[in-house]
Amino acid sequence: MSDPAPAPAPEPDGSGPPRLLERIATDIVGLRRQAEVLAVALTSGRHVVLEGPPGTGKSTLLRVVAEETGRGVVFVEGNAELTPARVVGYHDPAAVLQSGYRPESFVEGPLLTAMRQGMLLYLEEMNRVPEETLNVLITALAEGEIHVSRLGRVRADPGFRLIAAMNPFDAVGTARIGQAIYDRMCRIAIGYQDEAGERTITERVTGDRGRLVRLAVALGRATRDHPEVRTGASVRGPIDMVHIARGLCGLRGEERAGRDTLLDAALAAFSGRIRLEEGVDRTPEEVVTEILDRLLAAEAEAEADEEPSGAPPPRGRGAGQAPSHGRVLEGRDARAALRESGRRTLARRELETAHAGFAEVSPGVGRLDEAALERLLDRDPDGAAALLCDLAAATDVELRRQARRLAARVFVRLGRAGRPARRGMRRIVPLPGRPDGDLDLDRTLERAGGGLPRSADELVLRGWAGPRRALCLLLDHSGSMRGQAVAMAATAAAAVVLAAGDGVDCCVVAFHRDALVLRPPGSARPPGRVVEDVLSVRARGSTDLALALRTAARQLARAAADERAAVLLSDCLPTAGGDPLAALAGIDRVHVLGTSGLDDSVRAGTALARRGGGRYRRVEGVAELAAALTDLVGVT
């Protein structure tokens, strides 16, 4: 392959770098090293990915560097609707209909502008951009030119650079950024400032200093460490809080902001910014209030050097402690129940008696021989998978940790078995009868028989196909949920979660007498994490199939889908609750993966599948699961 990078651009003038360093020192807090790397990367002809959470100064940095190196910048916001046409450009339909495909009818997109004029193309949120669009960019990076149909070849000016920014914590689509892209770009990681840096920024922007800034910055930083917060606030949060708190103090005539004022400001500045973990049942307001109260208590303690006075009053009896009949637990409660049920650990001596391969796979305390497990997987997949599940519950802390990590990988792999190579993403498809989307000129002309379209019906629009199906996997963890049963459940969960995004919105529920929602529809919880949850699930007494089905219906109702299906992995022999055959409302299809060969079980499973409009399949081991799922519902 020829040299992929365009020739380095000449330095605009000799005074560039020193002035740049000057501006970095004055305008940017704490990013000096990154700024230097960026400036050098750009002048030496590299394309760059800036990776870091929002609000860490990526765009400020880019602006300063771009201005000082004397280049123009074209900004593009990356999102799922950024089609190749919106980056490259498109033929104006009206002009084409008037005078055919001519260069003048082409409306140039930001990529073409940047390439032709040798500017910087700044692509924000690259990891939200669809794969096709990224592919167009690869061509531009690799060849320094792209081919646009009916327009021809467009060469990049040597000054053209792509600067992409992305948030590594943003789970949506991150996995799609392939090696091909990374391989053609340099990467600069930008983290949050340290506390002093954030204070400096906040002081500089707000002109305030002292207690208010200290509290606001501490609050912002605490949101990033809080266990229930997925995405914490950037430094913009503290800045807003200081502004608002100061304003409120003026309005309320307070010399020193009291708790209420601080709380009002904190809520305004942070509650909309933070994103809570999937399934957390508290509100952002509650989390912000908790953090603020903690900070104020610490402050009071430090100031008075005595017992905290602002401490919350003692709480009474916790809610939901006694087990009741047939609960549905979601989010935090489900996870707490899992932690509780996952408490029992297995001693080495128990593991040794239960699994022939144990000594080979774990030759000593704290040791897990992955190669030995892989060999065992080849030889005896079910035995190995069952062993791995039990290892994930070992008393031996180190062994347990390694087993959980390995299990997440192994079960995701088993869940992927038999799965077509197609990448999990949405496709652009014609959208019949829908008024939105991009006009597909060629097809429109084709349909209109070469002439002008006479009615709206003849317009062919293209858009993104959204999820059309919702699928709920129901995992029975009553009875003997050890070893192989856990392995089957983990494999099924991995397979189903992997299917999420293939136009299927997937959720996972484990049930015995209660139902635990491990992954609600629309969740971004990745397969490995769901597998870990399943591994924590331990056997419970009774089976309430009816509750499970009703829970599935309720979860499926949340998903936007044309078809709602449930897959039940169970022996289908309920020991609690009502008649499952009477609990099928709200589910279009119920498929059954039968885990027992007993006559009663097969009969019950078959009857349930028939009444549910689905099919029954008996599965005897992990190796069959993914194939069985594909066969039943075609998701994997």
Partner: protein, 372 residues
């Protein structure tokens, strides 16, 4: 051989642990050398430095230890080098009157706990030309110790020793004070004063025993929160609040059991614990105070009229050799929580910080983890 240890040379309000390199003798008959993996920071060692516990000084601190046997002396049959052990701060001979009647927590070998010498009378630590005792005949604030085989309990080697260490003192003491000493029963109302390393386990024990109301009393919010996490149904900051709450919860009947596990027991808390129990109820005192001070001052008439019981309990009235293993088995099956108890770990060098944090109420249980 040489070993680094934290030593108490003198008592006093400002006394600190001093880190010192000691000479350690090889194990004698019925003795063995342990390389400690972890040691708990228990309040009793603090009592050593303050002088509340009158011990022979100088003494190597620490009586809650878990480690690996390195070398065994003659006639040792209980363990072999390489074995993982948790130590009992009470030696158990197995043959004295107390041991042979199921009260091994009162074993006669315990006579020299505060002397620090081994059962034969020897001292295995030496420095500055002096013999040093080991707290409770262990001295776990040392990288290595020579201890009696009567002090060790062999445990499975897949148990995490930095957690298992807690069953050497605080866990069985607290758990046993509810289950064995106070005999908490299903449906009981229990009040536990002081949520430290012992009190938190009294909470776990009471929960295990099926108490309906478990009221944790502690001035510090973080401790109350931890108590509720591990099973307390209610938590309050003061004895007065406890009295008011229990009166309400029981329609004036009052609590069945109260357990005193505060860091320094005084007459005030004992009286509160006495007043909070019903007719026929019991107060169990587990904590320590200044040894010469009279820390129980009660109306004997009330004691008689209401037929109340006030009792002490050593090691939660548990039997070390049996209950240490039992605690670990309960941990394995998820019924006793250890992971949640360990609130901070320290290196031996930071031991004074660890005790400062204990005094500041920051720790439920701090643990020294040795790096060697």
């Amino acid at each position: 051989m040489k070993t680094k240890a934290a030593v108490c040379w003198e008592t006093g309000p400002d006394a600190r642990w001093e880190l010192e390199e000691l000479e350690l003798d090889p194990p004698g008959e019925h003795e063995l050398r342990i390389r400690w993996v972890a040691s708990g920071l228990c309040h009793s060692d603090e009592h050593l430095t303050t002088g509340d516990l009158p011990a022979r000084l100088p003494m190597v601190g620490g009586h809650e230890g878990a480690g690996i046997v390195e070398e065994v002396g003659a006639s040792v049959t209980k363990v072999r080098p390489g074995d993982h052990v948790v130590c009992s701060f009470l030696p158990v001979c197995g043959t004295c009157r107390w041991c042979s009647t199921g009260q091994s927590n009162l074993c006669d070998l315990g006579a020299t706990l505060l002397q620090g010498s081994l059962p034969g009378g020897e001292f295995r630590f030496h420095a500055r030309g002096q013999d040093l005792g080991g707290m409770c005949m262990l001295g776990t604030f040392s990288e290595r110790s020579v201890v009696s085989e009567y002090s060790v309990v062999k445990v499975d080697d897949d148990l995490p020793l930095d957690r298992a260490v807690l069953v050497g003192c605080g866990v069985p003491t607290g758990w046993g004070s509810s289950v064995y000493a106070a005999r908490v029963g299903p449906g009981d109302t229990v009040v536990i004063y002081g949520i430290g390393g012992v009190g938190i386990n009294a909470v776990q024990g009471a929960r295990h025993a099926g108490a309906a109301n478990i009221v944790a009393v502690d001035p510090l919010p973080n401790k109350r929160e931890k108590a509720e996490e591990l099973g307390a149904t209610h938590s309050v900051a003061t004895g007065e609040e406890a009295q008011e709450l229990v009166t309400r919860l029981t329609n004036g009947v009052l609590a069945d059991r109260s357990i005193v596990t505060v860091g320094v027991v005084d007459a005030v808390v004992v009286e509160q614990a006495f007043n909070v129990i019903r007719k026929g109820g019991s107060v169990t005192i587990v904590g320590l105070g200044p040894i010469a001070e009279k820390t129980i001052q009660l109306s004997g008439t009330m004691l008689t009229l209401f037929q109340k019981t006030v009792q002490g309990s050593m090691f939660g009235s548990s039997n070390p050799m049996y209950d240490i293993r039992k605690m670990l088995e309960l941990y394995r099956v998820g019924q006793v929580k250890l992971d949640e108890l360990c609130s901070a770990t320290y290196s031996l060098d930071d031991i004074n910080q660890g005790y400062q944090d204990l005094r500041d109420g920051k720790n439920i249980r701090g643990v020294i983890v040795y790096d060697s």
